[in-house]
Point group: C2
Chain length 224, copies 2
């Protein structure tokens, strides 16, 4: 089963039509902290709500408690963040095959970086290939060492390839700007690459974790 998770990031970064789409979805729906409230307020009932909920008012938490069957209260002083607990629960208890995460970007950037760096932790590496972070302008996927085929996604012009750790022999083939056997001891964002004539791009690396970011300009900025 696939899952959809909503974290507490700014609502204006959620892709248009997100809440409507969930009404007709049979995928597992997960809310994290204020993300649970966003779902409930839009008439959606999360299958699972996780958080310390410490940024919610009491009556907001009551709204969630009234309708959600599986609520897990986390301790604010903890080793795992709420979003990390959600990832663990999604795959270990609900045995999801893949998970799309919304509300993970924007707002407080220490939070965004938690979400971006989660899959670098040894115990989370296994989930890296199964999770996608999505907002209004970006789709972020995570890759472990090996060869990977990156297919174009309609509407997303740009391709960012970002080693989030040290990396060995990073190569990019078939993109506008190729790269060959690049080594780095620190993260680098190879930004603004592009697909060529709708062709699949191939990436390869031998060590590290790499994020692939599909992105687009918003309409008001688009070139005409």
């Amino acid at each position: 089963m696939k899952g959809i998770s909503l974290l507490g990031g700014p609502l204006e970064l959620i892709p248009e039509g997100f809440f409507e789409e969930q009404k007709n979805n049979n995928q597992l729906l997960l809310g994290v902290d204020r993300g649970s409230l966003f779902l409930v307020e839009k008439g959606l009932i999360p299958d699972l709500a996780i958080g310390d909920f410490d940024s919610l008012k009491k009556e907001e938490l009551v709204k969630i408690e009234k309708v959600v069957k599986d609520i897990r209260y986390s301790n604010p002083v903890k080793d795992l963040t709420d979003s990390e607990l959600m990832i663990k629960s999604a795959f270990e208890n609900y045995h999801l095959t893949s998970l799309e995460v919304y509300g993970a970007t924007g707002g407080r950037l220490d939070h965004f970086l938690v979400n971006l760096f989660t899959f670098l932790k040894p115990e989370f590496q296994v989930y890296a290939p199964k999770v996608t972070l999505i907002d209004r302008q970006n789709i972020i996927k995570f890759f472990l060492p090996g060869k990977h085929y990156i297919k174009p996604v309609e509407g997303y012009k740009y391709l960012g390839i970002v080693n989030l750790t040290d990396v060995e022999n990073l190569s990019i083939q078939g993109a506008k700007y190729p790269l060959k056997d690049y080594n780095s001891t620190y993260p680098i964002s190879f930004a603004s690459n592009e697909f060529v004539a709708g062709k699949t791009v191939e990436i390869y690396f031998e060590k590290g974790t790499v994020a692939v970011i599909y992105s687009k300009d918003l309409d008001r900025f688009a070139n005409i």
Copy 2:
């Protein structure tokens, strides 16, 4: 001299009052790509405009060229990004003592990560302590190995401490959640830490680059 730079990130993330404040400022004003246009459209004349300007319409570029004395056209196929060229020019040609960068967050996340990871490059390490990235909810500062004192900033409740690289013996003292001699081979965002009773926080580490992120919730989400 201090400098203020505006990149092309989403305008809604620029702190309120930013453009008004620049009208009475004697600091060096730098525009990067679309950021140059934002400044000109608000009646401000950048001292320096840098970019390939390839996302601008011709008449938009003309607006910039009419008023800016120092324009540097970058090549889209290049080793340095436009924002990196701006950093280099700011410190090497204009000899700034410090630089605040706006418009560096949000929007396309491959761009944001370029801005976040720039100071990990050996040739940019020297600028790390002099640059601050600022948006509506976050202030990001960069630190090299050693002991550093992090003073509270009014209105910013949270403190994120993020090793952007591998790190040795990272310690946090005087914050709500202390940390002692932490080692990591990959980036970690220690998010949602807090100042205690307005006291200065002390961080120490022996290897790596660490970002300190002051952040706040927006009013509409604030706890009452």
